[in-house]
Symmetry: C2
Subunit: 153 residues, 2 copies
DNA sequence: GTGGCTGCAAAAAATTTGCATCTCC
DNA sequence: GGAGATGCAAATTTTTTGCAGCCAC
């Protein structure tokens, strides 16, 4: 799917839910589609041009997007919340988080996990009457860049 | 392991690292050992007796404990950070998080996942040179209490 | 036109920090 | 006794909210 196609999808999605497609909303969507990583609200604000749009609007747009499940929110270790396109608009994936520099790497090589995960989800329904809507897997560790100087030092 | 044994371990652990075992530190450890769920700093503070210990001390103690890996920190959807004993002092487990009421249920029935996870961890080392130290799995959904009224409504 | 959005400013919530004082070893 | 921990108050950081004016439909 091209950037334009995804944006068209998002546009339809927002309007379909009865919301306006305003300037700030379109611009935030565009930034999220064009940037292949997670960003916190301030980084989005930066890219929008701090003078052009207010910070509170950025938060309001991102919160709306999360409510509509256009984006999802990730919070790591009390840092500012990070936002990324949801799986509806992006391949399902999970995260490797470097404890040292805070960098987040996406991974999506986990297909062989999925059948085990669904097994678990059925178990939770039976045992806890808990109905799973989504799952997250995070690996914490040391990324290549942070490990290298250690080996040398 | 009994409560007292765990506390003795923690005591030794703190002293072994060259830190003092002060009143607040002991009391926070005791609360964490005696309470079988995660708590945020304010809940710990409440249980300590708000008048007896200052909030900043609670944060300082909890941060130290995380640094020493006595506890680990979980942040859900920008709520206040939650703390729980680390796996060194508690069985390794993961979380079911109710999107509706925010309740967190522990689960530890995932032994059959572990071999998949180690396989992944080896893959990350080869492919991304990322060295995994810990992993978290979270399932989000609706817990029994929140689902029931929906079914009836 | 008008209901919903946005900007602005102010508040709220969670956490951190500087410094004088006190405590644990 | 002295390094290190705590209390208190103030600052910081991130996010939310009230309200008047503005814009997409």
């Amino acid at each position: 799917m091209s950037t334009e196609d995804i944006l068209k999808n998002i546009r339809g999605f927002i309007k379909g839910k009865g919301y306006f497609l305003t300037g700030p909303r379109y611009d935030v969507a565009k930034i999220l589609v064009e940037t292949p990583t997670h960003m916190d609200a301030d980084e989005v604000h930066q890219l929008l041009g701090k003078a052009r749009v207010d910070a509170s609007t950025v938060y309001r747009v991102l919160n709306l997007f999360c409510k509509l499940r256009i984006t999802r929110k990730i919070v790591i270790d009390n840092g500012p919340a990070q936002f990324e396109l949801s799986e509806r608009f992006l391949r399902h994936h999970h995260h490797l988080i470097c404890k040292h520099c805070g960098k987040v790497v996406n991974f999506d090589e986990y297909d062989f996990l999925e059948s085990d995960l669904s097994k678990l989800e059925r178990l939770f329904r039976r045992k806890y009457h808990f109905i799973v809507a989504d799952h997250k897997i995070e690996f914490e560790g040391i990324c290549a860049k942070c490990e290298e100087p250690r080996r040398k030092g």
